[in-house]
Amino acid sequence: MADLSTFNKKDEHEEENLRGTFFLVFFIGGFILLTWLAVLYIYLSRLQT
């Protein structure tokens, strides 16, 4: 039982330490998604030349 609780604490601690990274990679991911969808939109709008 003691093992489980220390295990969870370590996990949380580890996550705490990577919150900034988590935020930033999702910012990167969001940028990729947005720009991709923007060019998809341009492509679709040009289908009707």
Binding site: N17, L18, R19, G20, T21, F23, L24, V25, I28, F31, I32, T35, W36, V39, L40, I42, Y43, R46
Partner: protein, 564 residues
């Protein structure tokens, strides 16, 4: 006291006493010097091109736009890169595999250097006398002087000797450390060179078996589509040959510079192995809009291209995590407090981080380019040029500049002075700003339809083409910033080579320490035969039937043509 070297920080308990052996110094400096020579000529060409295309200058009759473009591409994308990468790899192998390269590696290294440099000199001379105005992709049936292709072959085959030199030092270490997992730098250098050897098979076959016989007149006609396909078998993996050494610096050297640890010994290795698998069977995304290849195979290779994004996603997390953990270990609090704790005033860190920032839009643009139908929106426009100026010319090149600023003085026994460090930061800022003007604008005007690889033209004053002109002005301004940036970089190089004060305490060669929690990597990650086998298998799956089709549905072939 005179200037203090940047490495005089308490954080570095590492052996800052590492010194290169004289033979290794000579070999590495030969490569780096040749690289910087290529940088000088290549960036002059780039500046002149941009100013011509913006209509700011007219070129003298002795040199044409497309000659400059060929020189720019060859010297920067093929020569500066290859020579720098090989030099950097030799330095890291010497540092991490026992302090020096082994004699056989040195012999192979010099053979490689001479073959490559002779090849480059021949090719460059021919470009300058207008005998090879075919751009660095040299597509048939435009025919350059046969000696240009000989030069290209020498460059490629020479680089194989460089790869063998890398393997030689690695194998020597493996024999002396049986059963042990190799140092991360060496592992990554070997992985990169395996990728390179596999990739260059394509262009080697094209040059040696198609272009050389055809241009010497031993064979009348050439299968154009086959030659393009062979080139792009090589051409996409080429960009990973550029990118992976930058990743090596990010994964292995930078953790030391920020005072952090490498927190996994397995994930970086897996990342590089994934690149070996997925960088090659993807060449069709450079050929999406051409005939001779069916939609099915184009789409299959698009799927494989999306897979090659995965190791970069892993890298993004790993590198940022290393920064955050290092910053938090220094006491940072809050979501982003760790950012302030990073060594922003250290050019060895600043340049590559500028590189990483630019990699975000760079990578996004790459995914767009590979996206099958979306490619029709951007193929052969300046969007493509913007893309590789962000990826190669910023992410990779700025990282290389960040390496050079400590590697050169480490080799020459001089100090990395505070002034050079400051200048390095100024250089990176200039480069970043210049690149935003240049590449950012290229992406926009490319979406508006401006073609790549084209000299100044207004297309009969058509309104669509006239709308591009103001953007060309911004791009030209960016090019001026970049050119100044490259002059500064060359000054830094020369200063650290010949002028900075000598020192008895060599500049530290930073190698990151593995975190205590990092587990031993699984053996399979170093069973190269598995990964080479998988890489070949994927390429066979992705390319066999299309290649057969290119032979079966082949037109009679093209005679040589000279159009310049």
């Amino acid at each position: 006291m005179a200037e203090t070297a940047v490495y005089d920080r308490k954080a570095n308990i590492d052996s800052s006493s590492f010194r290169f052996q004289p033979e290794d110094k000579r070999l590495i400096l030969a490569h780096l010097s040749f690289a910087f020579g290529a940088l000088l000529i290549g960036t002059i060409a780039g500046l002149l091109q941009t100013l011509q295309r913006a209509g700011w200058i007219t070129l003298p009759p002795q040199i044409g736009y497309y000659q400059l473009l060929t020189a720019h591409g060859v010297l920067l994308a093929l020569v500066f890169t290859t020579f720098f990468i090989v030099g950097y790899f030799y330095s890291g192998l010497a540092r991490t595999l026992g302090g020096e390269l082994n004699p056989r590696a040195r012999v192979l290294g010099w053979i490689g250097f001479y073959m490559m440099s002779v090849g480059v000199i021949i090719a460059t001379a021919l470009i300058l006398v207008n005998e090879a105005t075919v751009l660095y992709t040299f597509y048939a049936p435009m025919e350059a002087s046969p000696w240009f292709y000989v030069g290209a072959a020498l460059l490629v085959v020479g680089s194989w000797f460089s790869a063998f030199a890398v393997f030689s030092s690695y194998l020597r270490w493996r024999r002396e450390h049986k059963g042990e997992s190799s140092p991360l730098f060496a592992f990554m250098a070997v992985a990169t060179m395996i990728l390179w050897l596999h990739a260059t098979l394509g262009v080697a076959v094209e040059v040696v078996f198609q272009l050389i016989p055809w241009s010497f007149g031993w064979v009348d006609r050439i299968n154009v589509s086959l030659s393009r396909t062979l080139f792009w078998y090589f051409g996409h993996a080429l960009v990973y040959f550029w990118l992976l050494p930058a990743y090596v610096y990010w994964y292995v050297n930078i953790p030391k510079i920020v005072g952090g640890k490498i927190f996994s010994n397995s994930l970086p290795r897996l990342t590089f192995l994934l690149f070996i698998l997925f960088s090659i069977p993807v060449g069709f995304h450079h050929q999406l809009n051409e005939p001779g290849i069916t939609s099915f195979w184009k789409f299959l290779q698009v799927i494989l291209t999306m897979m090659v994004v995965v190791p970069s996603l892993l890298t993004a997390f790993s590198i940022l995590a290393t920064f955050e953990l290092a910053g938090r270990a220094k006491g940072a609090k809050g979501l982003f407090g760790w950012i302030k704790k990073l060594p922003w005033k250290d050019a060895r860190f600043f340049s590559p981080v500028m590189a990483m920032l630019i990699f975000v839009p760079a990578g996004a643009g790459g995914i767009i380019l590979a996206s099958y139908q979306l490619n029709q929106t951007v193929h052969n426009t300046w969007f493509v040029t913007g893309h590789f100026h962000m990826t190669l010319a910023s992410t990779v090149v700025l990282t290389f500049f960040g390496i050079a600023i400590w590697l050169i003085p480490s080799l020459t026994g001089r100090k990395l002075t505070r002034n050079m460090n400051r200048l390095g930061i100024v250089q990176a800022i200039l480069w970043g700003v210049g690149m935003i003007f240049l590449s950012g604008t290229m992406h926009i005007v490319g979406l508006m339809g401006a073609p790549r690889r084209s000299a100044y033209a207004t297309y009969g004053n058509h309104e669509v083409a006239m709308a591009w002109l103001p953007y060309y002005d911004i791009i030209a301004i960016g090019a001026v910033f970049l050119f100044v940036g490259s002059l500064i970089e060359l000054y830094i190089f020369l200063h650290l080579m010949f002028v900075a004060p000598k020192t008895n305490e060599p500049v530290q060669y930073p190698i990151g320490d593995m975190a205590e929690t990092a587990k031993e990597p699984p053996r399979i990650l170093e069973r190269w035969s598995v990964w080479i086998g998988l890489s070949l298998t994927l390429s066979i799956i992705a390319y066999t039937i299309p290649f057969i089709s290119l032979f079966e549905h082949a037109p009679p072939g093209s005679l040589p043509i000279r159009t310049w």
